[in-house]
């Protein structure tokens, strides 16, 4: 790993993040949106670890742990919400959850 410059890791991380954002904005299925959110979180994790290895400090690892915990909790709650929405509206299309419009 010492020969791979960190810019590669950071670029990978940025690309993963952008893919996650794109999926978050442009996909219609709620579950796909959630998967994109997880993708974004993991991209950020990668960035943290990269920098932590680069500066030889343990802070990045610790923060990555926090991010993973939050991601797990958020996934649990999010899936519960999705199940409730599906039970009430029988659809997983995010554009049809718009009763707050106007």
């Amino acid at each position: 790993m010492s020969e791979i410059p960190i810019s590669w890791f950071l670029t990978l991380s940025a690309v993963l993040f952008v893919l996650g954002v794109a999926g978050f904005l442009f996909r219609r299925n709620i579950i796909t949106v959630f998967m994109s959110i997880e993708l974004m979180l993991n991209a950020v994790n990668l960035t943290f670890i990269t920098f932590s290895y680069h500066w030889k400090q343990v802070d990045g690892h610790l923060f990555a742990f926090f991010v993973m915990v939050v991601a797990a909790a958020e996934a649990a709650v999010g899936l519960a919400i999705i199940l409730t929405i599906f039970k009430n509206r029988s659809t997983l299309n995010i554009d049809e959850v718009e009763t707050m419009k106007n």
Binding site: V21, L25, I94, M100
Partner: protein
């Protein structure tokens, strides 16, 4: 001395009658109203004859304004000038109050009339007793208010309320001059107190004193109905006749004369201002006398006569003969009040008729009124040895000493005065009765004040006012010239004779004279169209200008427009921000992303997270 009792007794009458009059009986209202004024008169008599009038009799009640070095208190004082004014105001006031019992007996709003009349007495007495310009101004404004209330007493008649408005508004123009004068006095002398100002006045520059004098005169022109602010007085005849007698003949309109006389120290050191006063006075006297020649309403004749006689008083003041001016003020109060009350008696006898063309031959039917009015008429015409002769002669002699042309114009005006007063007398009391009413003599409650005033009109000239006031004012040594006296008496008698010839000896001659001098007659009959000129040049431009510029332009356009624009702006911003809340989850997500990008960019540009 308890000077505060003098004005406060009528004020108590005003409060009692004003607040409870609706439930009180006529007898109680009369007792309260007349009693308060008569008691005030009694206290005046007691005060005036018991104190030393040459000492500084000032009573300080409380400090009204204390601001930096300016200290204005509520002060009242009595000196020789005040004494004369107090006696005239309370004395004539009492007589007119008694007369009003009879005159207003069948009118509505009885208690309201007497409460307003008492309020007027209060303010007039405050004006006369004041020891500084500001308390005088309080009285000044107060009598203007009461004049408005009383002129518009018959408030259901449009012409009465219009007349009340006109009186108040035109007065305000004069008050503007008065206020400017007071500001100027404070700026130059640091105080409004008479004693302080008059002690410091000789040391001030003549330009300052002239400015103050001219501004005070502007105030006096408004209150005392001189050119160019006299237009309210003839219209003020819309009020009940006792009001015309008290306010517009004897007391309120003399406030201007009193104020300028009180400021004699300022005027004697500003000869230019005095000259202006004399010229305004004689011009007004002549102008109003010419209008009075052709009027048909008996009260209008006497209204223009009042304007004219006030002009004479200002001639006296302007020529330095202050005591002559005050002497004429007193005698004028006697005979003018009598003329008005008498015409009120005539109107009452004819059940409301005021047009002299519908009168005539009344001297046998209402003899008391006739004989008392005749006393007033010979007095105002300047026939010796009655009161008007002495006072007018004193003024004319002083005028001749100051500027002979004023004397000659004054003498000619005296002739005109005699002419129009006797024209009124002859049209009303001589010849055949031309109307349709049933004339009956008035009750004693009206005729006894007439009789008292008649005695005063005849004998008032022997009250030694000039000698009494001579110790107060600087004396103008004017040699007594018998030829001047003879000339003025001759003009007066000539006026009477001419009126007799035209109206009694050869009736119908008046109409033929009016026909031959048609343009001149139309001019004076329509009061030189002054009201129409004012309306076209001042009133309409101001009203229309206000409507177009101030109302539509500023108020609606600018102020309302600004407020409305703020509201519209809030509305537009809101409708734009509303698009943020679309209910679409994906757009929310987009905005979250967009916002976080902006925050990060701003942070980086602002120096990062350090």
């Amino acid at each position: 001395m308890l000077l505060w009792l003098i004005p406060l007794l009528p004020f108590a009458g005003f409060l009692i009658n004003g607040l409870f009059g609706r439930r009180l009986s006529k007898g109680v209202i009369n007792a309260v109203a007349i009693g308060s004024v008569v008691l005030s008169f009694a206290w005046v008599v007691k005060t005036v004859f018991s104190i030393n009038l040459d000492a500084a009799n000032t009573e300080h009640y409380f400090t009204w304004i204390q601001s930096g070095s300016l200290n204005i208190g509520c002060d009242m004082s009595v000196d020789r000038l005040t004494a004369i004014m107090l006696l005239v105001v309370t004395g004539i006031g009492s007589l007119i109050h008694i007369y009003s019992i009879g005159y207003m007996a069948h009118e509505g709003g009885y208690y309201r009339f007497f409460s307003y009349l008492n309020l007027f007495m209060f303010f007039m007495l405050v004006l006369v007793l004041a020891a500084n310009y500001l308390v005088l101004f309080v009285g000044w404004e107060g009598v203007g208010l009461c004049s408005y209330l009383l002129i518009g007493f018959y408030f259901d008649k449009k012409f009465a309320t219009n007349a009340g408005n006109k009186a108040f508004i035109v007065n305000r123009i004069g008050d503007f001059g008065f206020s400017l004068a007071m500001f100027y006095i404070v700026r130059n002398f640091g105080s409004l107190d008479f004693g302080t100002v008059f002690r410091a006045a000789p040391g001030a520059s003549e330009a300052t004193l002239t400015t103050i004098g001219l501004l005070l005169m502007l105030g006096a022109c408004g209150k005392s109905a001189q050119l160019p602010l006299y237009v309210w007085l003839p219209d003020a005849m819309a009020g009940p006749t006792p009001v015309s007698a008290l306010i517009h003949a004897a007391t309120m309109v003399t406030a201007g004369v009193y104020m300028t006389t009180r400021s004699w120290v300022i005027y004697t050191h500003a000869p230019a201002a005095m000259n202006v006063i004399a010229i305004i006075g004689i011009a007004t006297a002549f102008f109003a006398a010419t209008i009075g020649l052709a009027q048909n309403d008996i009260k209008k004749v006497f209204a223009y006569s009042t304007v004219s006689q006030l002009g004479y008083m200002f001639v006296g003041v302007g020529c330095g003969a202050f005591s002559a001016g005050i002497f004429h003020l007193m005698t004028h109060a006697f005979f003018k009040a009598l003329l008005f009350l008498g015409s009120g008696s005539v109107i009452h006898a004819l059940s409301g008729e005021q047009d002299m063309r519908n009168m005539g031959g009344l001297r046998k039917k209402i003899p008391w009124t006739f004989w008392t009015m005749m006393c007033a008429a010979v007095a105002i015409a300047g026939v010796p040895p009655f009161s008007g002769f002495f006072s007018k002669d004193a003024i004319l002699v002083a005028a001749n000493h100051h500027a002979p042309w004023i004397f000659w114009l004054g003498v000619f005006t005296a002739g005109l005065t005699a002419f129009y007063v006797f024209r009124a007398m002859f049209l009303t009391f001589f010849g055949e009765y031309r109307g349709h009413a049933h004339p009956h003599e008035s009750s004693p409650v009206m005729t006894i004040p007439l009789a008292i005033l008649a005695l005063l009109s005849l004998g008032g000239g022997f009250i030694a006012v000039p000698a009494f006031l001579g110790r107060f004012f600087p004396t103008v040594e004017v040699p007594e010239d018998f030829t001047l006296v003879a000339i003025s008496v001759a003009f007066g008698l000539g006026g009477i004779a001419l009126a007799y010839w035209i109206y009694v000896a050869k009736p119908g001659m008046a109409d033929s004279i009016a026909g031959s001098f048609k343009i001149l007659y139309t001019a004076i009959y329509n009061k030189y169209f002054v009201d129409e000129i004012y309306d076209a040049t001042v009133v309409k431009p101001v009203v229309n200008g206000s409507r177009a510029v101030l109302w539509r332009g500023f108020d609606v356009g600018l102020i309302d427009g600004t407020v409305n624009a703020v509201g519209a702006l809030a509305k537009r911003t809101g409708s734009v921000l509303r698009l943020l809340q679309s209910g679409n989850i994906r757009s929310y997500a987009t905005w979250v992303l967009f916002g976080s990008v902006i925050v990060i960019v701003v942070f980086e540009l602002g120096g990062g997270m350090r």
